[in-house]
């Protein structure tokens, strides 16, 4: 056994993040670690990487017991970590990013040429092509991840921890990465894969260990299990049977009529004569490869971006050209695409984040009604099972999934006739996903109009009554829930025309 973690326990005060966790890894094995947000996966890996010290338990690498006081100790023992948010230097070259800490020298000089050659050899050896002289800021996300993996390999890692490696990748990049992992495993590198995405885990891992509430629930061979069994282990209960009740849509709540948005320098339009309607009691899904106008559409229907021509009406009112505040007053709630950029203030408390946009109903004469706020926020947190220390905890200490649940709770509480749900479950675990999907469907059943934008096709297919596919700023086609299949949508996403699907 290459790595053994035995009886690892980690306590933060009264909270137990890891409770006698055993974890092992063989040479050339891909071992996935799955579990909901806050199940203790990250804590366990931070302990292995020397960023945290275990309260109890021991780590054995290659037959020797080790104590990792800092990441440098773990790196020296052949353990490398690729963080979820890349640790790269954007203005440096690829080669510089890979050799940093082990720079080839010529006297006191940093021999950049030797570095580039070294990186070239390394990338050929492991079959991970990169251009050593390219600047990292100019590399696509998939390549940046390759750079991270090469950096870790260059540090001499035999064990690589990948924390949510596919979160920011396009489907093609994901496919490439999973293949690369398998190939590297054959070359003797071992992987620990932390992920939410069960299908990816099942397709690439040899063994899967499930954590829940800090305890190991089970460790199974990937070939002996399936997604349903894994999610049962993760959540600890049967997931509710998913049903979409037939609802007859009512009147149009949102109409977008022939909207065009031009690029900044008069380049080709970002949105090209887009028209769509969302009626009461239906969920309209927008699919498309990211960068085909989804962000612009979201900004147009939430009042964050001006249109060059066309008309937007919301709840029967012409809102074209009005401010985001007026859109909201006309009946909009908005679960934004990027929860940190648009949806929250990381340095502020959970309570303050929760009441954003609710100030009118929670204050009197300009004074906040603290008690009312506490009651309300506590109710939302209960309803959406947001895991937080207290209402005063800073938002940045919440895990991504819990932050997302808080934002969904906040936006749903507005009770508006129209809701924008943009990537509502990005980076969120199965349990949280279920909660959020239920909330969206409930609103639909109550007669709400929902515009759903998601890069997850399965989510679009599961929730939408109608599906529109965006391609290069145009509506490439529309499918009803009954007609839509993953193949048809993919075809439209790739630029095929709606008429040829049959």
């Amino acid at each position: 056994m290459l790595l053994q973690m035995e009886g690892i326990t980690k306590r933060y005060g009264s909270l137990i993040a890891n409770d006698r966790v055993d974890f092992s890894l063989q040479e050339g094995e891909v071992h996935a670690l799955v579990g909901e947000n806050g199940a203790g996966k990250s804590t366990l890996m931070r302990i292995l990487y020397g960023e945290e010290q275990p309260s109890e338990g021991r780590i054995i690498v290659g037959g020797r017991e080790r104590v990792f006081a800092t990441p440098s100790d773990a790196i020296a023992a052949g353990i490398g970590m690729v963080h979820q948010h890349f640790m790269l230097f954007p203005s440096f070259t690829v080669a510089e990013n890979i050799v940093i800490g082990r720079e080839p020298k010529a006297g006191v000089k940093f021999d950049r040429k030797a570095a580039a050659e070294h990186v070239k050899t390394l990338s050929e050896k492991f079959g991970m092509p990169v251009d050593p002289w390219a600047k990292v800021a100019d590399c696509p996300v998939g390549v940046q991840q390759r750079i991270e993996i090469l950096k870790v390999l260059n540090q001499g890692a035999k064990i690589i921890i990948l924390d949510e490696p596919t979160g920011a990748l396009t489907p093609l990049e994901v496919e490439w990465l999973l293949k690369a992992i398998k190939r590297l495993a054959k070359q003797g590198i071992s992987f620990i894969l932390i992920s939410h995405k069960l299908n990816e885990v099942l397709g690439s891992a040899d063994r899967i260990t499930v954590l829940r509430d800090g305890k190991v629930i089970g460790s199974v061979k990937a070939s002996d299990t399936d997604a349903a069994a894994l999610s049962r282990m993760m959540v600890g209960r049967e997931l509710a049977k998913f049903e979409r009740k037939p609802v007859v849509p009512g009147e149009a709540i949102l109409t977008v009529d022939n909207v065009t948005v031009l690029g900044d320098r008069g380049t080709k339009p970002l949105l090209d004569r887009v028209s769509l309607t969302v009626r009461a009691g239906e969920i309209v899904g927008i699919a498309g490869v990211s960068g085909n106008g989804q962000s612009e559409l979201l900004q147009v229907v939430s009042g964050l971006r001006r249109v060059h021509s066309g008309k937007v009406t919301l709840g029967g009112k012409d809102v074209t050209g009005l401010s985001a505040g007026e859109f909201r007053r006309a009946g909009l709630a908005h679960i934004p695409e990027d929860r940190y950029l648009w949806g929250s203030a990381k340095e502020e408390s959970v309570a303050d984040n929760a009441i954003m946009g609710h100030l009118a109903s929670l204050s009197k004469g300009g004074i906040l009604r603290k008690r009312l706020i506490r009651e309300k926020v506590a109710r939302w947190i209960d309803a959406f099972r947001v895991k937080t220390g207290s209402l005063e905890t800073k938002a940045k200490h919440l895990s991504g999934g819990n932050m997302q649940k808080l934002i969904v709770a906040r936006e749903m509480a507005h009770g508006t006739p129209f809701v924008i749900a943009a990537e509502p479950t990005r980076g969120v675990d199965i349990g949280a996903m279920e909660t959020i999907h239920e909330a969206l469907l409930k609103r639909r059943d109550e007669g709400g109009a929902i515009l759903l934008v998601s890069s997850e096709l399965s989510e679009i297919l599961k929730l939408s009554d109608r599906i529109l596919v965006l391609y290069e700023g145009r509506v490439a086609g529309e499918l009803s829930a009954g007609d839509a299949t993953e193949e048809k949508i993919s075809f439209l996403m790739a630029g095929g025309s709606g008429n040829e699907t049959h």
């Binding site: 790196i75 230097f89 954007p90 006191v108 940093f110």
Partner: protein, 305 residues
């Protein structure tokens, strides 16, 4: 106006630019490790005062300069401890040090020398002027390049040294890495605080040199608030030069030149107050251009070097 432009104008620019350049290099170094050092002004002022004090104590110019470097080094250590060690806001700490420097030097001026406003001792010798053999005999070049204080030459040598260290050596590379992404540098096991302390304290030493050039260079005296905003202009030069030693040199030369021109204009019919405003007005104008550049840099379109 006929005498406005001649070779002595450029020569004057060189010695005017030296303190500015030294301080701007200090600013650039701090910026490269991610610390916005607004205390350049105060550090320079303390350097100017302690250079005179050291000269008075030791009667030796070289020791006086070293004493100034040491004292400002201590002040910069305080700045470093507050901003790096205690993670206090660098701008607040920097401004506090600027006001402290102003009050402290005025107070010490009275406490030690018993004078207010200005101290000058005619027996005290300033920095020597180096007349470079061969070069001083070449007509224009001699007038331009020869006859400056050692600190003027040192300032320009340091530009080359820093340029080399930052962009050619391993230690410089790591220093840049610390400034670019501290979290990533830390995860690689780099001692980020060590680099930050080092940069701030070395910057303090540079400010000490800058102050010494002010009080012992062209004149040998100390006046209350004799830096007169040069530290802030140095800060602008840092930003305009993209924290790149060569760029900082170019922008410092520009400001030094403008300063010299404004001094010259005082002899003309233009009101003095207007000419004194000149470098500062130019600073604002230059900032307008600078704003655009940072935007480009943040979006990764402009080379960080």
């Amino acid at each position: 106006m006929g005498t406005l432009l001649d070779w002595s104008l450029l020569s004057a620019t060189l010695w005017k630019v030296a303190p500015l350049l030294l301080a701007a290099l200090a600013g650039a170094l701090c910026a490269r490790v991610g610390i916005f050092n607004v205390a350049l002004e105060g550090m320079m002022l303390i350097g100017a005062f302690t250079a005179i004090l050291g000269n008075d104590l030791f009667g030796n110019v070289a020791l006086a300069v070293l004493f100034a470097c040491f004292c400002v080094g201590l002040v910069s250590l305080l700045f470093a401890y507050l901003t790096i060690g205690l993670q206090a806001n660098a701008i607040v700490v920097g401004m506090a040090i600027n006001f402290l420097a102003n009050g402290l030097t005025a107070f010490l001026l009275y406490a030690i020398f018993g004078v207010k406003g200005q101290y000058r001792d005619s027996t005290m010798s300033g920095l020597p002027q180096w007349h470079i053999p061969v070069i001083q005999d070449i007509p224009v070049v001699g007038e331009l390049l020869s006859g400056h204080t050692p600190l003027v030459y040192l300032a320009f040598v340091l530009v080359a040294v820093l340029q080399f260290v930052l962009f050619r050596t391993v230690i410089g590379f790591r220093l840049l890495a610390v400034g670019e992404n501290p979290a990533a540098a830390k995860s690689l096991g780099l001692k980020i605080r060590g680099y930050q302390y080092g940069a701030v304290v070395f910057g303090g030493v540079l400010c000490g040199l800058a102050g010494a050039q002010l009080s012992l260079g062209q004149v040998t005296l100390f006046t209350e608030n004799m830096t007169a905003g040069r530290g802030f202009i140095a800060l602008v030069a840092t930003m305009l030069g993209q924290s790149n030693p060569l760029g900082v040199m170019a922008s410092s030369l520009l400001f030094g030149f403008l300063d010299t021109v404004s001094t010259r204009l005082q002899g003309s019919s233009i009101p003095t107050h207007f000419t004194m405003m000149f470098p500062y007005v130019m600073t604002i104008v230059v900032m307008l251009f600078f704003k655009d550049k940072t935007y480009l840099r943040q979006s990764g379109r402009l080379d960080g070097k």
